[in-house]
Every structure is written in C-alpha cells, then in structure tokens.
C-alpha cells in the first residue's frame, strides 16, 4: 500500500535513551536577553531611542556650540530670524518675508516696503498678483535682517524678543525637561515601587491605611498643589520638584501594588515561603524581578507626562521664573508673537514634541518587548 519499499536493514531496533527526548534544542535565553532582542527588532522604538540620545547630547553640548550666553540680552538684535549657512532652502536664510495686498500695485508695494521700515536696500519685492484680474494686488517683500543690521555671525534658531540666542535657550530648556524626566523616573522607582510593594506585600491593615493615604493625595488637584508650593516657596525648579514628588508616584504605586497582590499568592512565592525564605528574600528574588518589566514600562510612560506637566506649568507662568529658560516658557514667549515671528515658537515646540513622541514610542516598544503574552 505504500509506494516505496524501505530497505529491510532499517527494521532493526535502535536504542533510544531518555536523555535524547529531554533535549532542548532552542538556545537558552533569559527573559531580559529575550526582551532585548525583541526591542532591537522594533524599528520605531530604536528610532525613538536614537532621537532621545541625540536630543540629550544636544542638551548637554548644544549651549557651548556658539558664543552666546543664555541670559545675554541685546535689544538691537531682538527677534532675529534663524540663519544657518547652507540651510537657506529650509527657510533658515536669515530673512523675513511678508505679503501685503492693496487696491493697486503701487499701494501694495509701498505697503510691503513699509512693513520693514522702508529699508529699501535690504528689501526685495516680488509681485504675486498685479491686480489686473480684478482682485487686490499682492506684493511679497523679503527683508534680509542680517544684512540690514550688519550682523556677521549667525543665530541658528534666531533670537527672542530680548535678543537672546534661541539655540542656547532651547537646549537649556531641554536640560530642564530632561532633568524633570530623570526626576520623574527616580520618584516613580523609589517612592512608587516601594510604597506599592510594601502596601501589597504586607496587606491587611497596612494596605488599608496606605491606600487611604493615596486616595487623599489623589483627591488634591496637581495645580492646587503647585500653587500652594509657590505660596510657600518661590516659583522655580524646587517647587515643581516637590509637587512632582508629592503626587507623581501614585499611579506607579497602584500598578505595583496590583501586580504584587497577584504575584504574592503565586505558587512559586508560596514554595519559597515553605522553604523558609524571609520577607526580604521573597521581595528581592521573587517579586521585584517579576514586576521590573512593568516598572520600566510604566516609568517610560510617566516621563513624558511629567515633562509635559512642567512645560504646562511654565507656559501658564507657574513654572520657572524669568529669565530662566524652559521649553514651556520659550513656547509661551513664542506664542505671543506667533503670527509675525513664528520661529520663536517653532523650535522649542518641535523639541518638546520630539521628546514626547520619542519617549512614547520607546515605551511602546518596551511594552511589546516585555509583554509575556507575545512570548513563544
């Protein structure tokens, strides 16, 4: 019935030993090695990581790349447009341009020149619409600020209303954001993990009291907390730090508590207890390693929200006081002259967006990498 005739010699018994079938053919990988491999395969997360590294390097070294100081004011050089040699095609050619319209071509042209104080030597005009088709005439004027003010050196990101270098200030602001990021991470890791862990592990009355305290803290709005801090201390990085320290760890504490509650009745923990392990051993060897993945993921997600919180406070004027730079205060300053000088808003806004997106993408990648459901 079978179409091939197997060789007769093959029908001899062979010795199969037990060990043969107990062999594991796959390479041995620990959870962390395995997760890391998966993270490396995640393009988005790797891009996010690269962006963060670049931004961190710029925050550290950026302010030293040119000669301007953070607080160096020069009112004669206020609101300079950005200029980078060779990046003129990106609009960073140190010029301002504007389109003016009027009933006739002449009127439009003079209006366009008026816009830049009639400094005709440095203005190029260009007719967009000569008005012959019944619509109002339009003229674009392009004003070379650097030539007009006879400035040789370039402001890469331009200057703000007080003539301070925007490049230096943007990176100084990024430093503040990254400081907040590390602060948030540290608070989450130290207070949140310890609080949640203790609350869940000891359970009973301890858990009850600790959870009530958390509920009270959650009940106080963050903004109220910050305003109270500002009343007591002066506005600045310290009051933001304290505000974060009071409220920033709560979600982490809750997540860790939930996980530990689940884990502490798992059989491997019970096994350790029947072997006579002390609480500290169970926490260190069994519980913490099993929630660590989740802790990392949650930290990565809480960092951008802390950064945003600081920027938001600075934006509404509750954060860092002038003349200190933070991405929030820079955005606030740019926001006021958004229509005329959009570049003042643009750069800090792009940087903060990049930070937020990069952290979120990286956190997503970490979650996928650590998620045990994806394991095979």
């Amino acid at each position: 019935m079978e179409n091939h005739k197997p060789n007769k010699d093959l029908f001899v018994p062979v010795d199969t030993t037990d060990t043969e079938s107990e062999k594991i053919t796959r390479p041995s990988l620990s959870f962390w090695q395995d997760s890391f491999i998966r993270l490396r395969k995640n393009v988005g997360a790797m891009i996010g990581l690269a962006v963060l590294v670049i931004l961190a390097l710029l925050a550290i070294f950026g302010p030293y790349l040119n000669d301007y100081g953070v607080y160096e004011q020069d009112l004669s050089r206020s609101k300079m447009p950005p200029k980078v040699e060779g990046l003129g095609w990106l609009g960073m050619d140190g010029t301002l341009s504007d389109v003016q319209s009027a009933a006739t071509l002449e009127q439009a042209e003079s209006k366009a020149l008026m816009r830049f104080n009639n400094q005709e030597d440095f203005i190029e005009t260009e007719v967009v619409n000569d008005g012959s088709n019944g619509e109002p005439a339009q003229v674009r004027a392009t004003y070379d600020v650097y030539a007009a003010k006879d400035i040789q050196e370039n402001y890469w990101f331009g200057t703000d209303g007080l003539g301070r270098d925007q490049w230096t200030r943007t990176w100084m602001g990024t430093r503040v954001s990254l400081y907040i990021a590390f602060l948030a991470a540290a608070i989450d890791m130290l207070i949140g993990v310890a609080y949640g862990g203790i609350s869940a592990y000891y359970g009973g009355r301890v858990d009850n009291v600790m959870q009530r305290i958390i509920e009270i803290l959650v009940g106080i709005p963050n903004l109220v907390l910050v305003i109270l801090m500002i009343l007591i201390l002066e506005p600045g990085i310290l009051s933001i730090t304290i505000a974060l320290a009071i409220a920033g760890w709560i979600s982490m504490a809750r997540i860790v508590r939930g996980q530990i509650l689940k884990l502490k009745n798992q059989e491997f923990v019970l096994a350790s207890r029947t072997l006579g392990a002390k609480d500290s051993r169970i926490l260190q060897r069994h519980l913490i390693p099993n929630v660590l993945g989740l802790i990392i993921i949650n930290t990565m997600f809480s960092i951008p929200s802390a950064i945003f919180f600081e920027a938001f406070l600075s934006f509404i004027g509750l954060g860092l006081p002038t003349p200190m730079a933070s991405l929030g205060t820079l955005i606030n300053a740019g926001f006021q002259s958004l229509q005329i000088y959009p570049h003042i808003l643009l750069f800090p806004a792009v940087v903060i967006s990049l930070i937020m997106i990069a952290f979120n993408v990286l956190a997503d990648g970490l979650r996928d990498a650590f998620d045990p459901k994806m394991r095979e």
């Binding site: 019935m1 079978e2 197997p6 060789n7 007769k8 010699d9 093959l10 029908f11 001899v12 018994p13 062979v14 199969t16 037990d18 043969e20 079938s21 107990e22 594991i24 053919t25 796959r26 998966r38 095979e376």
Partner: protein, 352 residues
C-alpha cells in the same frame, strides 16, 4: 453512512519569532453523520488547533492554514471568507469550550446569550426565540427555565454554566458540534452529568460530534471512533473498541498503560519517557521515535505511512510493516487489554 466532514492533508503553522511552528502536519480524517469522533492527544499535539482550523478560529497572523482541504458537506471551509464562515459558525457547526467561566459573557443574562444566535441565524422573532430558549434549557436539564433564563452567569454553578454553554451550542440545531475539552475544568461528578447530557442530546438531535480530550476514560465513555494525535499528526485511528482493545501504535500503548485501572495491583505504571518534540523543528522520521522503546532505524529516517489494520482501523507505525519484527505491547498494557477483554466478556455483576 453519509460523510459530513472530510479533512484532507491539513497543515497549520504559526509564525513566531523563533520561526515556523508546524502545529498540524498533514491531518486526514472524516466524520459521518450522527457519529462521535474523539481526538486524543497531549497538549501541543495539535488537537485543538485542528478543530479551531475547522471553524477558522485560528488567529491569523501568526497562524495560517498552509495547505489542505476541509470539506463540510462538500464545501471547502478552508477557502471560505470570513463572512461566509460567520453563517456557518454557530448555525451549522458550533463549539463548546473548555472553561465555562470564560465562555459566557458575565454582563448578559443567560437567556439573551442563547437568544443571540437564534435571532441572528434563524431569523426568529423575540417571543419565538424566548420559547425556544426555554425548550433548550429544559433539554440540557436546567429546571425552572423560565426564571433561570433571566439570571446572570455568576448565579449558576460551574456545571450549570457548562449546561448553558451546551444549550447555546445547540441553539441552532448544528450538524456538527465541536467540544474542546468540555469537561476538563469540571469535577468528576459534574463531568459525568455533562457527558451523559451530551450523549443524550446527540441521540435526540442526531448531530455529529468531534470531542477533544486527553482523558481516555472520557473517550471510552463518549466516542464511536477515536483518532490519536501526536506531534501534529494522527498516528492511529479506529473504532473505540479497536483503539482500546487492539491498539497498534506504541504511543497508544503508552497512553493506555499510563492510566491506572481501579483494580490494578501495585505494579509500576507504564510511562512514556521524555517529552513531546518541539514543533519548531520537528525531528526527522517518526516524531515519536525518540520516546519509543520499540523504535527501529527506519523510524529515525522515514515517516511511517498509515498502515491498514482493518477496514476501520489504521495506524502510522513501521511496526506494522511486513519486514518489522513481531513485537508485543508492553506487559502492563497487554495485561490491561486482557483484563478488559475479560470484563467485556460480560461479567455483569462486576462489583463496585
């Protein structure tokens, strides 16, 4: 006998980080109308995957049906679109899952959950459907159906919940019922009730059943025919008497030998050594060879074809080849078979 379902050379694979896991590697079987086929095998043998493939319930990706045909009344289910499948699922083929705790929606009244299918597939009006629900609940042995249908799943005990699940599966008079370890999560006494219920209902409705389990006791209880699966293949198939009283495949011997019988003396159980192979890279030749104490050289090189034992009984082992040495099943299994043959000889007064 009329064939209801024919599965031909079914291959199902899952693509994972580690590579392609060949969960089902060429499965052939058929099912007649009104018949119960039990698929037995260890976890990871592909028995659940096979039946999920029938219902197209395999998550794709990572899973995919690589090749093969699933002919249900002549229609190939493997090539059907999702939309076409939806008409078949629940109406012509329905499924009972292992865990009665998770297969019911906890926020919906039990009656409404049963009605869902009736209204969707049978186009019944609400009052009609309600009447049918009462009938169904009575059929599965739930007393006071009128009131019980207004309750939520958490108000039912485990066994009662599984009865509700059976009622849902039966709602549209399916031609084929697939039961995936329906009693594994239940206590023995409840298990016995549910098995009786299912047999009873099958008699009444004349539907065919595929019963997946790893419990040979359950198989002996419910099945007409048995297919033994190992490492993604069917290694032996036959009537229930063929498999229990005249098994030919060493894996089946192992399965039977590893169950203690209630009147056995204190001899050691016959255990199959080792663990099932990793289907990420299945071994060359017979997948069972490494755990088979009767393995021959050929087992390590060529996969055995299905050998015919009788018209109803086939087994995939080289031991059945004409050139193979004569080998008796292990003593423990042989004794078991003889012992059973004796009791089946009909001493009705078997003491209990």
């Amino acid at each position: 006998m009329e064939k209801l379902l024919e599965v031909k050379d079914l291959h199902v694979s899952f693509d994972t980080y580690g590579g392609e896991v060949k969960a089902v590697r060429g499965v052939n079987f058929d099912l007649n109308k009104g018949e119960t086929l039990a698929i037995v095998g260890e976890s990871g043998s592909g028995k659940s995957v096979t039946t999920k493939a029938l219902m197209q319930l395999i998550p794709m990706p990572p899973g995919r049906i690589k090749q093969g045909e699933i002919l249900f009344e002549g229609r190939d289910l493997a090539k059907m679109s999702d939309k076409q499948m939806q008409k078949i699922r629940g109406k012509e083929i329905s499924m009972i899952f292992q865990d009665p705790m998770t297969s019911l929606n906890p926020t919906m009244k039990v009656g409404n959950q049963i009605m869902e299918g009736l209204i969707k597939h049978q186009k019944m009006s609400k009052p009609q459907a309600r009447k049918r629900v009462v009938e169904l609940l009575e059929l599965v042995g739930i007393a006071d159906a009128e009131n019980r249908m207004k309750q939520y799943p958490h108000q039912f005990s485990g066994g009662m919940r599984q009865r509700v699940v059976v009622a849902i599966a039966l709602a549209c008079n399916p031609k084929l019922l697939i039961a995936d370890e329906p009693t594994t999560a239940l206590d023995v006494t409840i298990q016995a009730q549910i098995l009786e219920l299912m047999k009873d209902i099958q008699k009444k409705t004349d539907s065919a059943t595929i019963f997946i389990t790893h419990d040979l006791g359950v198989v002996a209880n419910v099945a007409d025919r048995v297919a033994v699966m190992y490492a993604g293949k069917i290694v032996e198939v036959g009537t229930v008497d063929d498999i229990f009283y005249n098994p030919k495949h060493p894996y089946t011997w192992g399965l039977l030998g590893s169950m203690p019988s209630l009147d056995s003396e204190d001899e050691e159980l016959y255990a199959i050594p080792g663990s099932p192979p990793d289907l990420l890279n299945p071994p060359k030749g017979d997948a069972f060879a490494a755990r088979n104490e009767y393995a021959m050289k050929i087992d390590l090189e060529q996969e055995p074809p299905m050998f015919k034992v009788s018209d109803t009984h086939y087994a995939a082992t080289w031991l059945l080849h004409e050139n193979a040495p004569d080998i008796d099943p292990p003593a423990a299994v042989k004794k078991r078979m003889e012992g059973m043959a004796k009791t089946s000889g009909g001493s009705e007064g078997e003491q209990r």
